[in-house]
């Protein structure tokens, strides 16, 4: 009996990895999804975008990199599809140089699918260092920070940018956050200039963003794979996030079961001693 509980309390980590691997692989292979109701904070984000008038400018900030790609890249593609479907104009920039090419790849892919033209329907500004300073200066004049797009083309020669000078001309900012840049957007963009913000974040960052949502500083919050799956349901474009939620749920159940087993083993051993 003691041996059994000892084994239970000290399961080899490689066995746990194997169980986790199998638990992720099987749901992904079977591709069985299940029904769930999108969260209110995600619905708010979706509804706000739905109500934006055609031709409104939406700024997208890419503040993540390859390490957060599985969580945020599929969501970025769905959000871009939604924005282009509603004929909104997209201005993409970012504060994480390693992530900007990911943003550009998604933007070009979805723009091609939706027959959108560079310079008229979307523009890619690129990167400037100095997060807070960049956000503050764009509130006065975007050209003060980005005098050209990523190809070096002056902003005044781009039709989409002709009448866009600062946050007064931006209907919404959507920040894709894997770190603290979302805080800067809220603290400088929203608090000082009244910029309307939707935050989409990795699951690690999401708990830090809820106070902003609760205080009404951001309109909507799309957090982690769950948020992405919710948004896929709302946009009616079920993809990776929706499929991944089954695997996510199975893994959570297994983690809880393993914690329980470990605790049973620990307490049983303590009693036997």
């Amino acid at each position: 009996m003691k041996n059994f509980f000892e084994k239970l309390a000290r399961i080899d980590r490689r066995i746990i990895y194997l169980i986790v691997f199998i638990s992720v692989t099987i749901p992904l292979l079977t591709r069985k999804g299940f029904k769930f109701e999108p969260l209110q904070e995600v619905k708010n984000a979706y509804d706000f975008i739905e109500k934006l008038p055609e031709g409104s400018a939406v700024m997208i900030s890419i503040d993540y990199d390859a390490a957060s790609m599985p969580e945020l890249q599929p969501l970025l593609e769905v959000v871009l599809t939604h924005l282009f479907r509603n004929n909104l104009k997209i201005i993409m920039l970012g504060h994480w140089p390693l992530g900007l090419p990911l943003g550009q790849i998604a933007l070009e892919k979805i723009a091609k699918e939706m027959n959108k033209k560079y310079g008229e329907d979307y523009v890619f500004l690129g990167y400037r260092p100095g997060v807070a300073a960049v956000i503050l200066n764009m509130g006065k004049e975007i050209r003060g920070v980005f005098n050209s797009d990523y190809r070096g083309k002056p902003l005044d020669s781009i039709p989409l940018m002709k009448n866009i000078h600062n946050y007064n001309d931006i209907a919404l900012l959507i920040g894709f956050e894997a770190g603290a840049t979302g805080d800067y957007w809220v603290q400088f963009g929203q608090a000082r200039f009244g910029l309307k913000i939707i935050i989409t974040s990795t699951a690690v960052v999401t708990p830090d963003m809820y106070p902003y949502y609760q205080a009404g500083q951001i309109i909507g919050l799309i957090g982690g794979l769950r948020g992405a799956a919710d948004y896929e349901i709302l946009v009616n474009k079920k993809g990776f996030a929706y499929a991944g939620m089954t695997a996510q749920t199975v893994i959570h159940i297994i983690i809880i079961a393993l914690i329980l087993l470990g605790n049973i083993g620990y307490f049983a051993l303590r009693r036997l001693r």
């Binding site: 992720v24 992904l28 603290q187 608090a191 690690v204 999401t206 708990p207 009404g216 982690g224």
Partner: protein
Amino acid sequence: MIDLIFMWIAAGLTLAIFSFLYKDNPFYKLAEHIYVGSAAAFWFLYLWFFDVEPKILTPFKPLFKEYGFFKMFLHFGPEQWILFIPITLSIFMLLRFIPPSAWLSRWSIAFLVGMAAGLGITGSLQGYVIPQIQGTLLPLYTGDLLGSFNNIIIIIATVTTLIYFFFSKEHKGPLGILAKIGITFIMIAFGASFGYTVMARVSLLIGRIHFLLFEWLSFLFR
């Protein structure tokens, strides 16, 4: 063809990283070094093409082309002269590598610290502290039971958590009870945060396995 090569590289590197789960090995180390090296190179290129070139070099280019290096200084306008401030501060920062003149870098650091403190204080007050206080001043009765309960929880959690961080008096008696309630809320917050962290890590795993199964392996068996 190029996509195929990159897919194989990505799959190989993913498997090399996964091999660490068994134990530390040269494949993992190779993948780790490739990631760090390529990230550093990428940072350098991005800073050059998106910052140094457009913000520092481009304003000088037309004058340099027209008048040459020495005569261009006679034709500088305010746009060019003002750039000498960041250029000088940048050079000062690099002087840290030359010990006799390393002290000059303190000017750049002083500028950075001052700017960061100024931005941080105003940003935190205007964008965090005041809106969050406003967000906590909630009615105890909203008309619906769930909303009222939610508001009461937020208020109790905020007040008791603040009491937990009040160290000027020993946590005994009513203060001790309130501090204990506060630490319970803090633990719940940590638990929620940890739960989200687990979800994030599992999402990354799902992403990689999805890539291996549906992009790499499905290509192999096509």
